[in-house]
């Protein structure tokens, strides 16, 4: 059994904002292994961000547990780095100061020089060495988001939580940063949990894609294993043989089945210990339960 060995484990998580209305999501169960890149996709209001916030320790679930490295997640912690939806940089600090603020929080005993060296290293990694002394307001949206990523990486977290980090970016910038993110994650064998709305982004980046049905009563309906080769590139992604099977599966789910599943769930199907379907689109044994 690898249950106790998985890096991150979520058990029967549910969240309701008041006691007499239906829960936003319920019966959420999944596991993440070290070094995996997981994307979670679902329509707005299904509670993706809430799940991420629970993993980050910023919000409490109504019931259920989340464990990381066999310890329950009870609050925010430096072993988890978060990249927020709206970059969340402090506008009164320069780019370097923003990253140094995080580094100093993680390594309070370091000297100023050590802290700056670490910050500069990660700013260079996202290609922002030249913008050290600038204030966030002088940067473009893409650059701000990169600083946010550098800040999260600079504390060398065990796990990275990304809440729709590229949602506000244009397609070109998004592609460039996706490549950078993929490169850094490979280099550092980073475990990542990422929310996205972009199906192609999920196919490019992730090892597994979690599909959520609509809220309320949302659940993780399916876990799609990415059957594309590991060395996939953004430029040639759409030429991969498995690209369309995976993509069609994801889009079909979002367009049709996420609604049906919600209707079923609302009728009161038992959801405790619900295990999502694991699917391998494009492979012969199309569904393995």
């Amino acid at each position: 059994m690898q249950i106790n060995k998985s890096f991150l484990k979520v058990q029967n998580l549910s969240k309701s904002y008041n006691s007499n209305s239906a829960p936003v999501f319920e019966g959420i169960n999944f596991e993440i292994q070290k070094g995996e890149f997981i994307c979670i996709i679902g329509h707005s209001g299904c509670g993706k961000t809430t799940i991420l916030n629970v993993l980050a320790g910023l919000e409490k679930a109504t019931s259920g547990y989340a464990f990381m490295m066999e310890r329950e997640i009870n609050g925010p912690g430096l072993e988890r780095g978060v990249v927020f939806q709206g970059h969340a940089l402090m506008p009164w600090m320069t780019v370097l100061e923003n990253v140094c603020f995080a580094v100093k929080s993680k390594y309070p005993d370091w000297t100023k020089a050590q802290i700056e060296e670490q910050a500069n290293k990660f700013l260079a990694l996202v290609g922002l060495s030249g913008a050290n002394k600038k204030k966030p307001s002088e940067l473009s949206g893409g650059m701000k988001q990169r600083v946010g990523i550098a800040r999260a990486f600079a504390i060398e977290p065990q796990m990275l939580l990304l809440d729709e980090p590229f949602g506000a970016l244009d397609a070109l910038t998004r592609g460039v940063i996706q490549d950078e993110l993929l490169k850094i994650c490979k280099e550092t064998n980073q475990t990542v949990f990422m929310i996205t709305h972009d199906v192609d982004e999920a196919i490019l980046l992730s090892d597994r894609i979690m599909l959520m049905s609509n809220g309320p009563n949302a659940k993780i309906a399916e876990i799609v294993v990415n059957t594309l080769p590991k060395n996939r590139q953004r430029a040639t992604l759409h030429h991969e043989a498995k690209y369309y099977p995976v993509r069609n599966h994801l889009v079909d789910f979002l367009v049709n089945r996420s609604k049906q599943l919600q209707a079923e769930a609302a009728q009161g199907k038992v959801l405790t210990n619900y295990e999502p379907l694991v699917v391998y689109p494009g492979l012969e044994e199309s569904t393995i339960n």
């Binding site: 910023l58 925010p76 780095g81 978060v82 402090m90 506008p91 995080a102 929080s105 504390i155």
Partner: protein
């Protein structure tokens, strides 16, 4: 003229308006043979009666000073600002320093209390709920209404004036600090949380800079009110200060000195406001 910026044009227009007002003043106060002034409101008629009855030295008919008299007053007062000939005859510089000292002292004391307390109120909804009724009741009280109580308890008129400044400048600072602290953007607090920043660093490196523009706005409003109130307070308590000077000159029936004092109060008030405007600029951030 087309190449001039709006700012330059505005300045030129300001100068023109100023000169025009001076011109009107001159027309209105130019010495006449007839007894009645050109614009005979009931008030100025009374002044006029008073002036012509009592002051025989000046040959002027209208009680209101002419531009020449004003110029002489400005020159005299400003050329020796720091002389001291006893309690009722001090240079305008000394009087101003007294007023500024009181405002500075009262304002600083208010700051010492309002900023930490505002921080606390902003951070804790409980304390906000508990203190809000008191603040709401105390805030609208005219600061001068505290004067009798201050005089009775403190028994020192000068310290009472400082107390009145303290009590009038505390509210805008307190309320703005609390508001600024309570409305620090959630995402910045979340960043601090996920980084496990200790409360002390969080207060000084995240909340304080985030709330600083709002806090400075409160301080600017407070300083404006304090400068308004000090004149009235000094008229009441007497002794020293620009307010006392103004009242004293009124008792001397020296309207030119009164007008001089008014101009000075306005100028200093503007300078104080500009100073806080600059401070505000320093702490504000573009988002």
């Amino acid at each position: 003229m087309k190449s001039l910026s709006t700012k330059t044009k505005g300045s030129l227009l300001s100068i023109f308006i100023f000169i025009f007002c001076l011109f009107l003043w001159h027309i209105a106060t130019v010495p006449k043979t007839s007894k009645a002034p050109t614009s005979a409101s009931s008030n100025s008629a009374e002044y006029n009666a008073l002036m012509s009855g009592n002051s025989m030295d000046g040959g002027q008919k209208s009680g209101f000073p002419t531009l020449t008299q004003m110029g002489t007053t400005f020159y005299e007062k400003l050329s020796h600002p720091f002389y001291d000939n006893g309690p009722n005859d001090k240079g305008i510089g000394i009087q101003l320093l007294f007023s500024l000292g009181r405002v500075g002292l009262g304002f600083s004391l208010a700051m010492l209390i309002a900023l930490p307390l505002g921080f606390l109120i902003g951070m804790s909804p409980l304390i906000y709920q508990a203190l809000n009724p008191f603040i709401q009741i105390l805030k609208p009280i005219s600061p001068l209404a505290w004067m009798p109580i201050a005089l009775y308890t403190i028994k020192d008129s000068s310290i009472s004036a400082v107390f009145v400044i303290f009590i009038c400048s505390i509210w805008p600072m307190l309320i703005n600090t609390a508001f600024g602290v309570a409305n620090v953007r959630r995402e910045w607090l979340n960043v601090a949380k996920t980084l496990e920043v200790n409360p002390f660093r969080k207060a000084f490196l995240v909340i304080l800079p985030a709330a600083a523009p709002t806090i400075l706005t409160g301080m600017r409003i407070s300083m404006g009110i304090a400068w308004l109130v000090i004149v009235a307070a000094e008229m009441l308590v007497g002794g020293t200060g620009i307010g006392y000077f103004l009242w004293n000159e009124w008792n001397n029936l020296s309207l030119s000195s009164v007008i001089f004092a008014i101009t000075l109060i306005g100028t200093v008030g503007m300078l104080l406001d500009t100073l806080f405007g600059q401070l505000q600029k320093m702490v504000s951030y573009a988002d």
